[in-house]
Symmetry: C2
Subunit: 464 residues, 2 copies
């Protein structure tokens, strides 16, 4: 049997080969592109608002996520995750939330309304309801997940970011909020951010707003408007509050309360020991015991922009005032019932993937680090070099195996680039190679050779 | 100033509060749901074909991913990632690929055609083209990412899975394929899978098909058809090959070649020393040196179902024959030019998130493990307990802090559930608490108490 040409028998085939595909049930709406000569260059950038993570970016991301995970571990939290794609219904709440209005939603090929998650908490609530009595409370869950938003405006803002969440489900007491704040402080300290860089503003929705007996319906809306108090002009805030039905008098009084920055003053103004003041006092007392008092301060204007918070709310802020909230969270005791489940007291926070790290210039030097580089000096020794690499890897050492015949100079450069601690050259044992000759002084000083393997065939590997 | 009610001034507000939102530019197509009394329970399951990862599943996933990452480290690969959402154009290739026909694509809110990635390689190629001369070859990149597909048929198959990829870009020699196979074997060994559980079938598209001078256009299509040879009846295969323009005679000859399971036989049949036979011989020789000969075998019928492979292809298979390909990969020297870039020789593999682990029953026992549980025995000692927890966490130890006043029995149960190595009870130092009394024998034996902190107020913490 001899190879023969099929091109003749195949000549009936249309040159564009598009013909047959239109009937497929899963066919794409756009016609398949034919990959032939003179292909137009694709857009080499990731889609608008998204990122690639080449090695140098990925090292930074891993460093950050490892810190998130290590703090979660220290606090005895268990890691969880949820689908990045959820039913749209899970995120449809009161209008006015930025997060809801920028939902990255679409219709799937089966005509279901779905969304790339804008946050993790609704999925967590869904899973808690699903598990029901199977879980023993309190749950302490952490997650690091990608979240999406879609803005029509072109502001150069990203459409995706990663978020670290920690949530405590089943604890009605403010000890839970204290624990969450403590974990964020622990994270900051680990990565080298101090109390003079950032702080927490803490308040409670319970009193500051609830005391006005704002109706259930209005409550979330008012919070969402107030959340923008530092981002948009005060006149706009007033207009928005009026448009949801508040009288001018009520608005003025509310804004006055919101300007309070001291818990004592709040107590005075609100008159008497309400639940929220008591909660906040306990939080500040616990903060002292935990040892993070200097990080935390009362600020009545903090309400957070999510509809579901019910009690204490907090947000991390940049003391220089350059950044938007670094992280934020609070208590959401009634979220589960909005999904039709039984309420369980809960609180949690979300922490974005750390603009703060870039802003404060604390990005660590994370260079590639491979322990060994192994190179055969002769093509026939590739197998021997492979064996050396296997021996080292079996011992848990990382090895960059040079897979082609390359000049020594190239190998030294590569070793320097990957910060190899050891260069292993595999060659036939015959005569001495004078390495000095093939290296410039600088190159030589860049490297640290502590082992040369010069096996006879059959080679021997010494000293590894 | 006294709290007063706003509900009267707010009465103009429509009870459904839907009114104002329809004009927003980012408004959702479905009307916002009002979260009030008697809410219908949401669907508590993740969307069809997706998964939640509660703690027990997440531990397994982390264990698996850590093994993927550790193998990548041992082989000196750098980790990268790409957006899970890419432009649809990146994945539109020759029809007939399962992966292409099941693309999870949709139109975004800005009317762009996008897709949740079905695989990682096209994104890698995009990034390599983008980086251009900025990277020093060879690149050795690894990634673990979620991939998506959309099937209309309801087969109970998942729509997402995670995939581990390792790719070598810039090495034309078969040493690269040998290295990749070696890394997969290393992974199998690490998790306890042996050469009697799984193996690799290896072939090369170069000779087995190319020898027939199948035209460029037909080549990918024929490969995609042949890839289904073990999944659909032979008659269907023949029909499909005929429909793309092959004569019956050619089909018979092709199928005969594909049935060859020995490299010697192939050489005989093809007559002479072609490039592919030489490649395969080198691969088998290197496999011996790397030490994984028993894992690898020649099988001419392996061609893989992706259009872009050009040379050696391989797939991991379950020797019991229960599973579809466990992993697969090969050489794709011309993928970059199909995107309009300059070609760089490359090869890689994708490894799904391990049905094999479940199938072979090698799932490790991964239980939650928190080093300490700290509990205040009195409500007033919460602060003291918090301080104890902070001390331990500062030393790098994990602590589950009990955040409420709970009976001792509850605390012991919790300690057992989280496999705590140490239980620390914080109480006022006055008299001895007889623990035995509050514990059943079984409960007591479950726990190991090696420290009780009984501080006076101001308390002292001993022995930590």
């Amino acid at each position: 049997m001899k190879p023969r040409t099929l091109s003749s028998v195949a000549s009936a085939q249309s040159p564009t080969e598009n013909g047959g595909s239109s009937g497929r049930s899963g066919a794409l709406s756009a016609p398949p592109v034919v990959l032939e000569q003179a292909v137009q260059k694709i857009d080499v950038n990731p889609p608008k608002g998204t990122r690639d993570f080449p090695p140098e970016e990925m090292r930074l991301r891993n460093w950050l996520f490892n810190n998130f995970r290590e703090v979660s571990r220290l606090y005895g939290f268990e890691e969880v995750d949820f689908p990045v794609l959820e039913s749209e219904a899970l995120f449809i709440r009161k209008a006015g939330e930025e997060i809801r209005d920028q939902l990255y939603c679409f219709e799937d090929r089966g005509n279901r309304r779905v969304a790339l998650r804008p946050e993790l908490t609704p999925s967590l609530a869904r899973l808690v309801i699903q598990k029901g009595k199977l879980v023993s409370l309190p749950l302490k869950w952490s997650a690091v997940g990608q979240c999406w938003r879609y803005e029509r405006m072109t502001r150069g803002r990203r459409r995706e970011h990663y978020q670290w969440n920690m949530d405590i489900v089943g604890v009605p007491e403010v000890t839970a909020e204290a624990e969450l704040n403590s974990s964020i402080v622990t994270f900051f300290k680990r990565i080298g951010i101090t109390a003079s860089d950032v702080g927490f503003k803490v308040s409670s929705r319970k009193e500051v707003l609830r005391c006005y007996s704002i109706s259930e319906n209005l409550f979330g809306k008012v919070c969402i408007i107030i959340d923008k108090i530092e981002k948009i002009p005060l006149d706009e805030i007033k207009k928005d509050l009026k448009s949801v039905g508040m009288s001018e008098e009520a608005i003025e009084e509310l804004l006055q309360v919101l300007s309070i920055k001291s818990l004592t003053k709040l107590e005075e103004v609100l008159g008497g020991a309400g639940e929220a003041v008591a909660d906040l006092k306990q939080l500040f007392s616990l903060a002292e015991r935990f040892g993070y008092s200097e990080w935390i301060q009362f600020d009545a204007s903090v309400v957070r922009g999510l509809a579901y918070y019910t009690g204490i709310v907090f947000e991390g802020f940049d003391r220089e005032g350059k950044l938007r909230a670094i992280c934020g969270g609070g208590r959401y005791d009634h979220l589960l019932s909005t999904f039709g489940g039984d309420d369980i007291p809960a609180c949690g926070f979300g922490f974005g993937d750390a603009v703060i790290v870039e802003e404060k210039g604390i990005i660590p030097e994370l260079s590639v680090q491979v322990e060994n580089i192994v190179c055969a000096l002769d093509h026939d020794l590739q197998g021997a070099a492979a064996k050396v690499a296997t021996l080292l890897r079996d011992k848990g050492q990382s090895v960059d195996l040079v897979l082609e015949n390359k000049p020594l100079k190239w190998v030294f450069k590569r070793a320097a680039r990957i910060n190899a601690q050891r260069l292993i050259l595999v060659e036939i044992q015959s005569g001495k190679r004078d390495l000095k000759h093939s290296l410039s002084k600088t190159e030589a000083s860049l490297l640290f050779f502590n082992l040369f393997v010069k096996p006879k065939l059959p080679y021997r590997v010494n000293g590894i």
